[in-house]
């Protein structure tokens, strides 16, 4: 009897191994939270020194004003708007308006770009669109001057703020993407650690600063 057992070869019974591993697996499945480091980025302006003079007032046409009151109603460029989803297209047109193309070079030192250079670098489809439907003298002079100002009342909800911010980012990403022949989604997914992607990214952004300003709300509710 004992001999025949030996001949069969000694094996550890591994049948329950899977069960044990399953148990551990389920434990980790439950406790895992896949890190969600995704969101809408924003760069706050540096804190204002009291000695420094107030920044030069921008011309009215170069500021795209969005206001939200405490009832979450929108006022865009002086007119009421019901659907925040429409802001994206309006801002897109605003940035690319090129109402008065200037040759003044702006931007961080070393990579100064004028509006004219920016305009020349655009693909022909965008140029055609700008010349046909934009170039209004009531909208922005060019991307260097264009500022989007978002002013939300203290009583307005965070949800609508995120919706608007999302739309603003969508407009900028669309501009950047189209400039280098990508969709806004492809542009967003560019991997900046990859030199080729980084080059595309820099090319798309040069001369078109993302100027989203979150204005300080007035203390009085709407």
């Amino acid at each position: 009897m004992a001999r025949s057992k030996n001949r069969g070869g000694q094996e550890v019974n591994a049948g329950s191994m899977a069960d044990i591993a399953f148990l551990l697996l389920i434990f980790f499945l439950v406790t895992t939270q896949i890190a969600t480091n995704k969101g809408l980025t924003l760069l706050l302006p540096p804190k204002q020194d009291e000695e420094e003079p107030e920044p030069v007032k921008q011309q009215e046409r170069n500021i795209f004003k969005i206001q939200v009151n405490s009832l979450n109603k929108l006022l865009v460029e002086g007119e009421t708007l019901d659907d925040p989803a429409l802001i994206g297209d309006m801002v897109y047109d605003f940035i690319l308006n090129f109402g008065n193309i200037s040759d003044v070079e702006k931007g961080p030192t070393g990579e100064k770009v004028s509006d004219r250079q920016t305009y020349e670098s655009l693909p022909s489809t965008m140029k055609a669109y700008i010349n046909n439907s934009l170039r209004s003298d009531k909208s922005s002079d060019g991307p260097n001057a264009a500022i989007v100002s978002l002013k939300a009342d203290r009583g307005s909800s965070y949800e609508i703020f995120i919706q608007i911010l999302d739309q603003l980012n969508a407009a900028y990403n669309r501009v950047y993407g189209e400039r280098v022949g990508l969709t806004d989604e492809e542009f967003r997914k560019l991997n900046r650690n990859d030199p080729r992607d980084l080059d595309l990214y820099e090319r798309a952004r040069s001369g078109i600063p993302k100027a989203i300003s979150i204005a300080e709300p007035s203390k009085v509710g709407g």
Binding site: A14, M17, A18, A21, F22, L24, L25, F28, L29, T31, T32, Q33, I34, A35, T36, N37, K38, G39, L40, T41, L42, L43, L44, P45, P46, K47, V68, A152, D153, R154, G155, S156, S157, Y158, E159, F161, I162, Q163, L165, D166, N169, A170, N173, D184, R188, R192, N193, I214, E216, P217
Partner: protein
């Protein structure tokens, strides 16, 4: 003919010997990717969804602020509060908190600190603006409004 018959006679079993290996592989994947919850979130967190999300590369530089109504209104009230790490902090305590967080980073990385704001959707903008002003004061200018991806069906 006989050949086929022989085959069908033998008992059919799926070999399960490789099953533990597969399970172990999955197990290791989850063990490696798991981040244990470091903080218990004490505020309501129903974060509005957005479309144009950007992924942050350097996780080490990110610190979190949770904003929303407390989960236990009988103790903490119903007004939205700011939670950092494990405790609620006052708005004017944010500068100090940012500085202690910055101290944990190396010298070169200090100015690249990114504050991730996880804000409940029912929060009013007032408190958000106050937080932003404090962050400007503390020179932590990079912020990210954490948001999950919008699903297509709505």
């Amino acid at each position: 003919m006989s050949k086929f018959k022989k085959k069908s006679e033998s008992t059919q079993e799926i070999p399960t010997a490789a099953l533990p290996d597969i399970i172990f592989m999955l197990l290791f994947f989850f063990m490696v990717t798991t981040v244990m919850r470091e903080t218990e979130v004490l505020v309501k967190q129903e974060i509005p969804r957005a479309e144009q999300l950007v992924k942050l590369e350097k996780k080490k530089l990110v610190t979190y602020l949770y904003v929303g109504e407390p989960k236990e209104p009988e103790i903490f009230g119903t007004e939205p509060l700011v939670q950092a790490n494990d405790a609620f902090i006052a708005i004017d305590g944010i500068v100090q908190w940012v500085n202690t967080e910055k101290d944990q980073l190396s010298e070169v990385e200090r100015d690249q600190i990114t504050i991730s704001l996880k804000v409940d959707k029912d929060t009013k903008m007032g408190i958000i603006v106050d937080i932003q002003n404090e962050l400007r004061e503390a020179n932590a200018r990079k912020i990210i409004y954490a948001a999950p991806k919008k699903t297509d069906n709505n």
